[in-house]
Symmetry: C2
DNA sequence: AGACTTTTAAATGTCAGACAAATAAAATCT
DNA sequence: AGATTTTATTTGTCTGACATTTAAAAGTCT
């Protein structure tokens, strides 16, 4: 683990990269303790604040965790799927908002990815997951539900669908796509009629999953995608010429 | 932008979160300059090193960039797709290696996602992208190619396929899945015969894309997935009883 | 001896003050 | 006016110190 002494700027970034490389390459394994900040500053020939800046960079990526006190220190973190989820969601959300990704583009990506899970989920979904989906459908049909609550339930429904594929890597990838769509979905106001239509499609999906008909799930997702995009177009149109 | 003075530990994390929230909520917009470190330390009533640790955390997530000198400072970064790619790849790679995700699981996810692009790519792929794919196929058939180079070309091929869908969100999501597979793929040694088989399937995919036959692309990807998983099984078997 | 309490040492968290280096704007000179 | 020098601002880094947390060691009592 060495750093280039010729490039004096961004020492903390170099040190962070050196430690990151050590973790990625397996030189540092999960739960292993890094040398103390004092030892690291001696190893890299920099001051402790510089080492600390490097460690904070790694902590921001959940690559390490720190613990105070005797026998404390910085430890290599097991990057859990949950940690990765939340990072992915933050990143995806910012990516969409900062790059002015259109609703259509985001929607297309989200449904394309979700359809990738359809067949697997039809094969493997558990009774529990199906029950979750039914429960969310029921919640969605409650009167007096706010748009935010409806959206949240929508996310939970699709989350259960994705989890049905029983592949953590897929769930992880989809988490970003589905959750990052929420701010965009929140721009849509769901009328009673549009909610009905969505709930009907959700029910169709649940029915298809119940009989493990992957093709039907896929087809219904296409319908749902088209309907969602239509709703977004309507909102855009109404904005253009308001009443 | 306030922090809780009652929880004295992890001040830098709190400050980072406060600034992060301000960025996500749109209070700080792209390319806006943050207050100087001195001003921030006064605002938050902490020392400059603490502020710096917070800023480094944000820099690690590419949320800000810093510039030295007069009229320098920390600026809100436009989170580009490219920045997000590399972070996603790092995260995905670590996620797979640290959680002992099986080859089958990763492979299944990767191809499921890639198949999600197949139909779109068949519709929209440009002549350029097709040419890239042909070029990579040609490279793959060169004799004396190392396994790493073959893998790299394989990634480039699939990258072009995904980019053909002309949806940056899809490309971003897929980047993680495809690239994170590389360390796992590198465990496979590609014999001359297996390379031939893969190249044949690649050619089939390119041919199908040329005539914009999405279903054929999809079917061939299924074949490729099965073949890849078979190769991995063979490697595992050979390891169990080595000659 | 064993269980409980106190002390101690090690580590991170935070602070204050200082200087170096880069950089753009202002001032100066030709 | 244009080129050069100076200056002020800001980040990057260092030194040294103290606070806080925590586990282990030492001590104490039963």
């Amino acid at each position: 683990m060495k750093i280039d002494p010729k490039k004096p700027a961004d020492l903390s970034a170099q040190i962070a990269q050196a430690i990151r490389d050590a973790i990625i390459s397996g030189q540092l394994i999960v739960d292993e303790r890094l040398p103390s900040e004092a030892e690291l500053s001696e190893q890299f020939q920099v001051s402790r604040p510089t080492v600390r800046e490097a460690l904070k960079r790694l902590a921001a990526q959940s690559l390490i965790r720190t613990q105070r006190g005797a026998s404390g220190g910085a430890f290599v973190n097991r990057l859990s799927f949950e940690n990765a989820y939340s990072q992915q969601i933050t990143t995806s959300t910012l990516l969409l908002s900062m790059n002015a990704v259109s609703f259509d583009t985001a929607c297309e990506a989200r449904f394309a990815l979700e359809r990738a899970c359809a067949a697997l989920s039809a094969q493997r979904r558990t009774a529990d997951q199906l029950a979750t989906m039914r429960a969310e459908i029921h919640r969605q049909s409650q009167p007096g539900l706010t748009d935010e609550a409806f959206c949240a339930s929508d996310v939970a429904f699709h989350r259960a669908l994705v989890d049905g594929a029983d592949n953590p890597v897929l769930s992880y990838q989809l988490a970003g796509a589905v959750e990052a769509m929420q701010p965009l979905m929140n721009m849509i106001t769901f009328t009673a009629r549009s909610r009905e239509a969505i709930i009907a499609l959700h029910s169709q999906i649940a029915d298809a999953l119940e009989i493990r008909d992957g093709a039907k799930v896929d087809a219904t997702l296409v319908e749902l995608e088209n309907y969602t995009r239509q709703l977004a177009r309507d909102v855009a149109q109404q904005r253009r010429k308001p009443a």
